[in-house]
C-alpha cells in the first residue's frame, strides 16, 4: 500500500504541469465544495443563529427533525411532486425520443431543438408565467374554463392543485432534456437489430418493448437517477411561486423547508441537520433505483 501511495505521488510530481492546470477546479472545490460539506456536518450537531455562540446539542436536532410533522409533510410533498412530474415525464420523453428517432419523422433537428428549448429558459421567469397562468382570480386557465362553460378553479387553494402546477412546470422543463439523452442512447442501438425485427414482421410496439427498452436500460437508469436526485431537491418552483409570506400549502419541499429554517428563521445548525437527513433520503432512493433498474447484463 505504502509503495503504491508513494508511486502515485511520484506520478503527480512528474506531471505537475498538468496538475497545475487543473488545480483551479480542485482549489475551488476544496473551498466551496469540501469545506462547506465538512462544516455542515459540524454545524448539524450545534445550535447556531448565525451570529451568536454555537451551542453543542448532539443529535437533538436530528431527533426534532424526524418527529416534526412539518418535516414529514415536506418529505411527503417532495415525493408526491416528484412522482407526479417524473413518472409521466420519463415515459413521455422515451416515447417522444423513439418517435423522433424513427425513420418516418421528418425535420428531426427542428423537433430536437423545439423540445429542448424549455430547458434553457430562466426558471424564475417560467415560474412567474405559470403563476399568472393559473391565477386564482384572473388566471388564463380560469378564463378558458369559463369560456367553455365550466367553473373556475381556485388553483392555489388546495394542496393537490398546487402540486400539480409545480409538477407541470418540471414536466415542461425537463421533457426535452431527457428526450435528448434518450435520443443519444437510441442512436447507439445497432440498426441491424431493427432490420432483423422488421424482416421477422415485428410491429412497432414489439420493436419498442423488445428491442428499444431493453437496450436502453442503462440510459433509463441514468435518467431515473438524475431525475430522482434533481426531483428530491425541488426548490425554485415553490419558492418563487410563493410570493406570499408562507409557501402555498402542499408546496413546502424538503429543500424549501431547509432554506426557510436557515435564512428565514436563522436556525443554521438545524438547517444543516436537515440537509444531512435529505442526503440520507437521496442515498436510499438512489440505491433503490439502482436495484430496480440494474442493467440486465449484471444478472
Amino acid at each position: 500500500m505504502g509503495t503504491k501511495v508513494r508511486h502515485t505521488w511520484r506520478e503527480v510530481i512528474r506531471s505537475r504541469t498538468q496538475y497545475l492546470f487543473i488545480s483551479p477546479f480542485y482549489i475551488l472545490f476544496l473551498v466551496f465544495g469540501l469545506f462547506p460539506i465538512l462544516f455542515s456536518a459540524y454545524l448539524a450537531l450545534n445550535k447556531w443563529d448565525g451570529i451568536g455562540e454555537m451551542k453543542y446539542v448532539g443529535f437533538r436536532q436530528f431527533q426534532f427533525i424526524i418527529t416534526d410533522p412539518e418535516f414529514l409533510d415536506a418529505v411527503k410533498n417532495t415525493f408526491i411532486i416528484w412522482a407526479m412530474a417524473n413518472i409521466p415525464l420519463l415515459c413521455c420523453a422515451l416515447v417522444v425520443a423513439f418517435l423522433i428517432n424513427s425513420a418516418m419523422v421528418r425535420f428531426k433537428d427542428f423537433y430536437r431543438i423545439a423540445y429542448y428549448l424549455p430547458n434553457v429558459t430562466a426558471m424564475v421567469a417560467v415560474v412567474i408565467i405559470f403563476q399568472s397562468f393559473f391565477g386564482n382570480h384572473y388566471g388564463f386557465a380560469n378564463y378558458i374554463l369559463q369560456k367553455i362553460g365550466l367553473h373556475e378553479v381556485a388553483w392555489f387553494n388546495s394542496a393537490l392543485t398546487v402540486q400539480m402546477i409545480i409538477a407541470s412546470m418540471i414536466f415542461w422543463r425537463y421533457l426535452g432534456y431527457n428526450m435528448v439523452i434518450y435520443l443519444a442512447g437510441l442512436q447507439k442501438i445497432p440498426s441491424d437489430l431493427y432490420e432483423a425485427a422488421n424482416l421477422d414482421g415485428a410491429t412497432m410496439w414489439q420493436t419498442f418493448t423488445r428491442i428499444t427498452v431493453p437496450m436502453l436500460r442503462p440510459i433509463i437508469l441514468f435518467t431515473v437517477m438524475m431525475s430522482t436526485i434533481g426531483g428530491l431537491q425541488i426548490f425554485t418552483e415553490p419558492q418563487v411561486l410563493a410570493t406570499l409570506q408562507t409557501p402555498y400549502q402542499g408546496s413546502i419541499t424538503i429543500l424549501l423547508y431547509m432554506y426557510r429554517e436557515a435564512f428565514k428563521f436563522n436556525n443554521f445548525g438545524y438547517a444543516a441537520a436537515v440537509s444531512w437527513v435529505m442526503f440520507a433520503i437521496i442515498m436510499v432512493v438512489s440505491f433503490l433505483n439502482w436495484r430496480i433498474f440494474k442493467p440486465s447484463d449484471d444478472r
Binding site: E70, S132, G135, N136, N157, T246, K264, F265, N266
Partner: protein, 435 residues
Amino acid sequence: MNKKVSYLIVLTMMMALILSACGGGKKNDEASGSSEPSASASQSAPAGEKAKLTLWYWNGAISDSSIEAAKAKFPNIELKAEKLPPGDEYKTKLKTTLAGGGDGPDIVAMDSWVTEMLEYSDKFVNLYDQGASEIKDQYLEWKWNMAATPDKKTLIALPIDVAPVVMFYREDLFKQAGVPSTPEEIKAKVKTWDDYIALAKTVKEKTKGSMGTIVDIYRNVINQLPKRYFDENGNFIGEDGHVKQAWDTAVKAYQSGATFGMSSSSEANAALNNGSIASTIGASWVKGDLIAAAPDTAGKWRIAYPAGGVGNQGGSFFGVLKSTKYPKEAYEVIKFLVSPDNLKKAFLEFGNYPSTPSVYGDADMKQPDAFFGNQAIGEVFGEAAKDVVVSHSDPRDGMVEDAIIQELTLVDTNKKDPEKAWKDALENVKRNLQR
C-alpha cells in the same frame, strides 16, 4: 514544442482575463472604486489621508442625492455606498458579516429589525459616545428608543424614516356605497375595527370592492398592539389574549365576506387596478406600490387615519459597526444623512416619511398629490407618525407569525374551522419553541 508554448501563453492569458474580469465586475457595483491599499488603523484619519468608509443600504433606504451631497460635504472622507438587494437577503448578509467579522462595511442601513440587533450591541459603535444625545430632540421619541438598549446607555443606530400606517381607499367607490368618504369623516366615524368591517361590508356589497386579505387584516391589527409574541424576558405571550384578539378580528372580517381572497401579489395588484380592492391599510411606502400597480385608478385614491389606531411599521436606521477604523467620521456622515433636510428630500423624491417632526409642518411636505386627487397626503402621514405604539420584538417573531399566518391562510383557502386552525397554530408554535 512551439505549439505547446503558444497553448500555454493562450491559457495564461485567458486565466488572467477571467480573473481580472471577476475583480472588475465587483468594482462596477460600487458607487466609486479605488484600489489603493487601506489606510493604517487609527481613531481618526491623519491629515492628508482620506478616511475610507463603506456604506451598505438598499434602494429606497435613503435618497441617492443625499449620498452625493455627503460626498461633497466631507472632502476628507471617501464614501463608498454599496446598494444591496433589500429584504431578508440584506439582513442575512449583514448578520453573516457580523458573525464572520473581516472586511465588512463601516455604516449599515437597518430596517425595523434593528431591535433584533440590540442583542449584538457590542458589534456596533455606541453613538452616545459620539455625541448623539445632542440631536436626540430632533427625532420622534419612540423611533429613537427603538435603536437604544433597554438600559438607555447604548444607541446602535440613528433613525432614518418612519413608516406611518394609514388607510388607502378609493373615494369614488366609498361615495358610491354611501359610506363616509372624506378623510375627516372617516377619522371621525370609523374608529374601531368593527366600524371598519361594517363599512367594508357595505362597500363590498354595493361596489364589489373588497378590503385586504384575511392575513392583511391580522397583520394590521397585531401591528397596532403594544405587545407582540414575546415579552422583554423572552417569554412567549402569544396566549395572553391579544394575539387571539387580532386573530378573531381577521376571522370576523373574513366571515363578513368583505376580504379579498388569498392570492399572489400580481393578482392583488391587478385587483387594485380594476376596483376589486377598495381599501387597504398599510405603511406609507404602500403609496409607491399603489402608484406602480394601479395606474388606471390615478386620482381616485385617498389616504385616511386608519381604524383601530396607527400601526408599528418601524422604518429604517443607520448604524456604525464596531469594526470601523473611523467611528468619528462615520458618525458625522450618518448624522448628516439623517438630518431633517436630507430626510425631507427622501420624502419628496419617493415618499419615505421623515422621523424628524420639525419638518412635518413645512409647506413642501404638504404638497398636493395628484394620484390621491390632490390630497395633501403628508398631513395624514404626519398625524399617523406621532401616535405610533412600539411593541417588543424578538428574533423568534418571524417563526411565530409564520405559523399563525399559515393556519390563518387555511381558514380562507380551505374553509378550515377558525378555532381548530388557531389551536393548530399554537401547537405548532409551542413545539418549535421547545427546540
